[in-house]
């Protein structure tokens, strides 16, 4: 890292630069839907990536920029980590053109993740909409890897259409192992091959029994949150047991640049995981 090859005048001093990313090698890159690509990465400096489920990383390609992404694998699987990138803007488009053997540049882990200590010993429900399954997959894997430490584990996943479903290998597995994870899925719009539930994600609450002592994690498109929260209130789940994983424009990832602010909170450092009781008074939290 001592020479950028530009013959420039900048000095490579010992002063820490919070914007300096680390290089990660792409071990695996797989196009999983028309717009989403699944990467498995390993840090090149050998120092690993010591994160908690729910935390984020700023992931970039030089010349294009950086975007915030939640880790999509569990830290219990230590040799590498996963990210899933949906092609939406200039950075994600550039990332999704990369293949095995190429590099991404990563800063992190950043932000605060799910409170695992609070969840341990209790029932857990994860409600994931669309690409919201990616950051929660980190927690799903974590729970599956330490299954005995948790109570009943239920997972709701909603996608726009069957073709938009992510981690289809995982889904096949989860559908089969009801005693390990009680998995329910829905799509907004079915197709000829779809035999499952059609409707918004809240229709899945009728499919199972959720105890009021459940710890609930919600992650999905901005519009989803208030409807899920309403269902949870009906079930009597306390507000401080509801964890919301929020998305905003986290540009710097270190609580400075201001773009991700919800009222006085910086999503990138105060979140992206918040308990509902912590942010219910924030008018800007729910669009």
């Amino acid at each position: 890292m001592s020479n950028c090859g530009n013959g420039c005048s900048c000095n490579d001093s010992a002063i820490d630069n919070v914007f300096l990313p680390r290089e990660a090698e792409i071990l695996r890159a797989e196009q999983v839907t028309a717009s989403e690509k699944h990467f498995t990465l390993k840090m090149k400096d050998g120092k690993g990536m010591d994160f908690q489920p729910g935390q984020i990383a700023e992931v970039g390609v030089f010349g294009y920029g950086e975007i915030p992404l939640g880790f999509a694998s569990s830290p219990t699987r230590t040799h590498s980590f996963d990210l899933v990138v949906r092609t939406v803007g200039r950075v994600s488009t550039a990332i999704n053109k990369l293949e095995k053997g190429q590099s991404l540049w990563v800063r992190g882990p950043l932000g605060s993740g799910f409170n695992l200590e609070e969840m341990r010993g209790h029932d857990v429900l994860i409600v994931a909409g669309g690409i919201g399954l990616c950051p929660t997959r980190s927690l799903i894997q974590y729970i599956l890897d330490r299954r005995s430490e948790f109570g009943k584990f239920t997972l709701f996943f909603g996608a726009r259409t069957p073709k938009d479903q992510l981690f289809t290998d995982d889904l096949v597995q989860w559908r089969k192992t009801k005693d390990v994870v009680e998995y329910h899925e829905t799509v907004d719009k079915g197709d000829d091959s779809w035999k499952g539930n059609v409707g918004v994600i809240t229709t899945l609450f009728a499919k199972t029994k959720i105890s009021p002592d459940t710890r609930v994690v919600v992650c999905g498109p901005p519009v989803m949150y208030k409807f899920v929260i309403r269902e949870l209130a009906k079930l009597g789940v306390p507000e401080n047991h509801v964890y919301l994983d929020l998305e905003r424009r986290m540009k710097c990832g270190i609580g400075k640049c201001g773009h991700c602010q919800i009222n006085d909170k910086y999503v990138c450092v105060d979140g992206p995981v918040f308990t509902y009781s912590d942010i219910k008074h924030l008018e800007e939290a729910f669009a």
Binding site: N6, R249, K256, C257, G258, Q261, V269
Partner: protein
């Protein structure tokens, strides 16, 4: 704090020696481009320095946090940090701008220390100076006046016959060797105090409520949509109020290739939460997006919240230091915090 005195007649020699020793930045006028308005810029001669200035167009935060700042350089062989501070003296900062430094110091240090700012801050000796001319829209005499400036290394006060120079750090004391400073007399020290106290009463604009009252009422006014619409009706979302604000520190980060199209740089640039795209995110699908503050009124409100209530607890006072720059910069005359505060308090 030790107080020193330098005669008016020796002051020019002091400046000359100081300028010869290291770069000095201070309030100056560029007759060609800034007319009779002041900017902080490199001072190349003692005559150029204008300690009688009222307020600068852009706040002196630009010395540590420039409008465009390179963060990294990248190229075929990797990436390189670009933190490269210059040892320098920033002379003639008014106390209200020092209060803004105190806030930025805290915020850039918070959780993840940002040395792109902090290294410049550490490499700079900050010498404050007394306000000799009060700018038209200033209201620092009343608003947040209990919060004292802390982050300066020395303070120059113009008194009869010369300057009282108080030092607050070794960096401040290190300047003494450049001039014929003697010990300030008790009379001179009290004259300096009188001078600085008197300035506090000279602002034409005044806020009559306490920061605590304003904070509570502002936060409670969040859902008063009619009021925010009324206040922002003529707003252009132009961001001028943000760009000239000494306590605004939001920025955008972008990458740019050089002409060789292989190497390039990652840089940050001042951003403004009043502008339309500030809180917009891409969602994918058919080019969809979500703008978390889509209406101009929401963005106008966000600025008021940031300056008057959100950060108060963290900063120990309001994030507005009363310089009045936003009032001057706002073309439709709606950014004046005094007017906004009065409207909020009216309910």
């Amino acid at each position: 704090m030790p107080a020193h005195f330098i005669h008016e007649t020796d002051f020019r020699e002091f400046l000359k020696s100081l300028i010869a020793s290291k770069p000095v930045i201070g309030p100056v006028v560029e007759p060609k481009s800034t007319g009779d308005k002041f900017i902080f810029d490199d001072v190349t001669s003692a005559e150029q320095l204008r300690l009688d200035y009222d307020v600068s167009l852009v706040p002196p935060k630009a010395v540590f946090f420039p409008p465009v700042q390179k963060l990294l350089e990248f190229g075929p062989n990797g990436v390189k940090s670009c933190i490269n501070p210059r040892e320098q003296v920033l002379l003639g900062v008014h106390f209200y701008d020092v209060k803004a430094f105190d806030q930025l110091d805290k915020l850039f240090n918070d959780k993840f220390p940002d040395n792109n700012y902090l290294a410049n801050r550490r490499a700079t000796t900050v010498i404050a100076s007394s306000v000799q001319t009060v700018s038209k829209h200033a209201f620092w005499g009343s608003f947040g006046k209990d919060v004292k400036a802390k982050g300066h290394d020395g303070f120059l006060t113009k008194v009869q016959g010369g300057y009282v120079y108080e030092t607050f750090s070794q960096k401040g004391e290190a300047l003494l060797k450049h001039g014929k400073f003697g010990n300030a007399s008790t009379d001179q020290v009290s004259a300096a105090k009188r001078e600085n106290d008197a300035a506090m009463d000279k602002c034409q604009e005044k806020v009559t409520f306490t920061p605590a009252e304003i904070s509570t009422k502002t936060r409670a006014s969040f859902s008063n949509n009619e009021m925010w619409k009324e206040l922002s009706k003529d707003c252009f979302s132009c961001g001028s109020c943000n760009i000239v604000c000494p306590t605004c520190y939001c920025f955008d980060v972008q990458d740019k290739w050089g002409l060789d199209q292989v190497s390039g740089e990652r840089y940050r640039t001042w951003d403004a939460c009043l502008t339309e795209d500030f809180a917009k995110v891409s969602l994918g699908g058919a080019g969809g997006h979500e703008n978390f503050r889509e209406a101009g009124a929401q963005r106008f409100r966000h600025r008021a919240m940031r300056k008057l209530t959100y950060l108060n607890e963290k900063l120990g006072g309001p994030a507005c230091i009363g310089c009045g720059r936003c009032t001057s910069a706002c073309v439709p005359n709606i950014a004046n915090p005094v007017k906004i505060i009065n409207r909020i308090m009216k309910g």
